[in-house]
Symmetry: C2
Subunit: 307 residues, 2 copies
DNA sequence: CGTTCTTACGTGTGTCGTAACGATC
DNA sequence: GATCGTTACGACACACGTAAGAACG
C-alpha cells in the first residue's frame, strides 16, 4: 500500500464518489484513480465501495473503517510536512481559519490585524460556516482550526482550547419601555417581540434554555445567523435584539441603545478547535495566543472576559 | 513523500542508526535506504539525522518530531491492513502477546489453551520482558498487546484495559513459626528474611510502600523477577517467600505452605494494553474477553478477582 | 584493512497518460 | 447521445540493485 492509494481513496469520498472529480482534484486522470482503488481492493481482498454497475455509490462497511484510518495516516504525513516547513521558514505559509460571521466580523479583526503585522508572510484565509460545518471543516483539514462557541468541545476527535467567555446584551431603539426599568428579568423580555440568533448559532441553545428553565416562552419574531441582520431589523422597529455583547460597536451603533443582560443568561465560552494530534506550526500557536491576548487586553469594554 | 521513506526512517532508528541493518530488515540494499533518507531530507529541507562524518549517530530535533508522526502514520496503515485481513479471514493470523514471566507461567496457560481451541489458525507468540520493556514493545508494534501489572496504565499513548485484581501470599516450609500465628502483621514479617520480586516487577512497588507506610523495613534477602526462582530459594530455607497468590500451584507446591496476605497489602490490577487508536482484530478482542472470562471462572481459587 | 555509507549507473517495475470500449442515465 | 467508469497499451519515471569509491574506526 502506498500513500497515493490513500489519497485517491479520500479524494473519492470527498468528491461524492466521483472518480473523475477525484482525479481532477488530485491532478491525475481518471484511470489512475481507478487503478489506485483497484490496487487497494486487491491488496485488502475486499470491496471498499458499493457499486451500482460501474458507478461508485458509497462505502462498504470495511470501506468506512479503512477511510477512517486512511484519514489519520494522511493527517500524520501532513504533520510531518508541517514540522519540516516550520524549520525551514518559521514565519511563512498559510493560515486557514474557520469561524462564524459574528467572530469574523466583531472579534477577529484586531487579532487578524495584529497577526498580520507579526507574520506578514503568512497568507490568511477566513472561511465561514455554521458551527456544524466548522466541525467538519476542522476534521477534514479544510481549515487549520475553527473558532466558535458551539459544538467544538463536544467532539471526541477535536482538541478545543477555551479562549474567552462572553454574554448577551439587549439592543433596542432609544425610548423603548424595556430600557426604563432598572432591573430587567426574563419575564419582562417575554412581553416584547425578540430578535436573536437561529438555533445552533452563537449560544442560542443556552438562550432558549434560560427561558425554559423558568417556564417562560419568549416571543422570538425573527432569528438570524448574523448579528448585522438582527441589528437591521431592530432598527426597523420589529423588536428588541438580543445579541452577543461583543457585537455592539459604539461608533456605528450609536442609534441603538445597549443594555447588559449577563445577569440573566449563562456565560458562553468561545473555543478554538483543531484535530487531536495535529501539529501546530509556530505561527498557528502564536495566532491562538494572540487571540487570547487580544481578548484579555481590549475585550473588557465589550463584555469579553478571559476564561 | 511516500510510505517507503517513512518505513526506512523508522527502521533506521530502530536499528540503532545503522543504514545497513535497517536495509536488511526491510529486505532492501543499503543505497536504497540512503536514498529514502535523502529524499525525505530534501523534501523537508531539513537534516533529520545527526551525522558524524558519513555515519548517522542520532536524530536531530526535527528528526525526533518527524519520527513521532511517521510512527503514527505507519501504525494507521497497519490498521488498514488489519481491517482488510479481518474481513477476508476473521480467524487466522498472528497474535503477539508481551508479558512477564509470572503471567506467562501461571495465568496465561488456560487462556492460551482456550484461545487456541477457538482459533486454531492463529499463530501465538509470547514475548517476555520487564514491564518497561513491555511498554516499549507495545508502542513499537513488536507485540499486539502487553499484559502486566505495572507501568501500562500510566502511559499516555497506551489504552489499558483492567483484567483482574490479585494479591499476595506468603509461602514457607512447613512448620515455619510465622505459620503458627492466626493473624499475621507486616511487623511480624519483618522478623524473618523475605524473598520476593525485584523492583519494577509484579507489584513490588506497592509491596515496599506498604511497609514504608508503617515505618517498617522488611529484610528482603533475595529478590527475583521470577516466581519459580523465589520458590526455589524458599525450598532451600533461605527465607519465606511473598509471591502473587496466583503463582501458587497446589499440586506442584505441595511441599510449601501458603498463607493469604491480602489483608496486608493493597490489591494489584493486571491490565492489557495496546497503542491508542490501534485497530484490534476480531480474534484479538476475543483474546481479551477470553482472558477476563477465564479469570472470573477459574481464578477464584487462586485469589484472582474480576475488577 | 575492514566496515559503513555515498555516489554512479543500468535495469526493470510500475505508475501515469492516451485512447478505445462499455455502461448507465 | 452524453457522461462516467473500465480496460488496454505505451512511454516515461523512478525505485531498486550492482558496482565502485570515500571516510571512519
Amino acid at each position: 500500500m502506498e500513500l497515493r492509494n490513500l489519497r485517491s481513496l479520500i479524494a473519492l469520498v470527498e468528491s461524492g464518489f466521483s472518480v473523475s472529480r477525484a482525479a481532477e482534484q488530485l491532478h491525475l486522470v481518471q484511470p489512475a484513480v481507478s487503478q489506485h482503488i483497484r490496487h487497494m481492493e486487491d491488496e485488502l481482498g475486499v470491496q471498499l465501495f458499493v457499486r451500482k454497475g460501474k458507478r461508485l455509490t458509497g462505502l462498504t462497511g470495511v470501506g468506512e473503517q479503512v477511510v477512517q484510518y486512511a484519514r489519520k495516516a494522511l493527517a500524520e504525513t501532513h504533520n510531518i510536512l508541517d514540522v519540516g516547513r516550520d524549520h525551514v521558514e518559521q514565519s511563512s505559509g498559510v493560515l486557514r481559519v474557520g469561524t462564524t460571521h459574528t467572530q469574523a466580523r466583531y472579534v477577529l479583526p484586531p487579532v487578524i490585524n495584529a497577526f498580520n503585522k507579526a507574520y506578514p508572510e503568512v497568507e490568511l484565509q477566513i472561511l465561514q460556516g455554521t458551527p456544524q460545518q466548522l466541525v467538519e471543516m476542522a476534521l477534514d483539514d479544510l481549515v487549520d482550526f475553527s473558532i466558535c462557541t458551539e459544538d467544538l468541545a463536544e467532539h471526541p476527535l477535536l482538541t478545543a482550547v477555551p479562549c474567552y467567555k462572553w454574554n448577551r446584551s439587549l439592543i433596542a431603539l432609544p425610548g423603548h419601555p424595556l430600557l426604563e426599568r432598572k432591573r430587567l428579568t426574563l419575564k419582562a423580555l417575554c412581553n416584547y417581540p425578540l430578535i436573536t440568533y437561529v438555533f445552533g448559532f452563537t449560544g442560542r441553545g443556552h438562550f432558549s434554555d434560560a427561558f425554559a428553565k423558568q417556564g417562560l416562552k419568549p416571543r422570538v419574531v425573527l432569528s438570524a445567523s448574523d448579528t448585522d441582520v438582527i441589528k437591521t431589523y431592530v432598527r426597523e422597529g420589529m423588536g428588541v435584539g438580543i445579541i452577543a455583547s461583543l457585537a455592539y460597536t459604539p461608533k456605528q451603533d450609536r442609534d441603538l441603545v445597549m443594555h447588559d443582560l449577563s445577569k440573566l443568561f449563562p456565560w458562553e465560552i468561545t473555543k478554538i478547535a483543531y484535530p487531536k494530534g495535529k501539529y501546530l506550526r509556530r505561527y498557528q500557536q502564536r495566532f491562538i495566543e494572540l487571540f487570547q491576548r487580544c481578548v484579555s487586553e481590549s475585550g473588557r469594554w465589550a463584555g469579553l472576559l478571559p476564561v
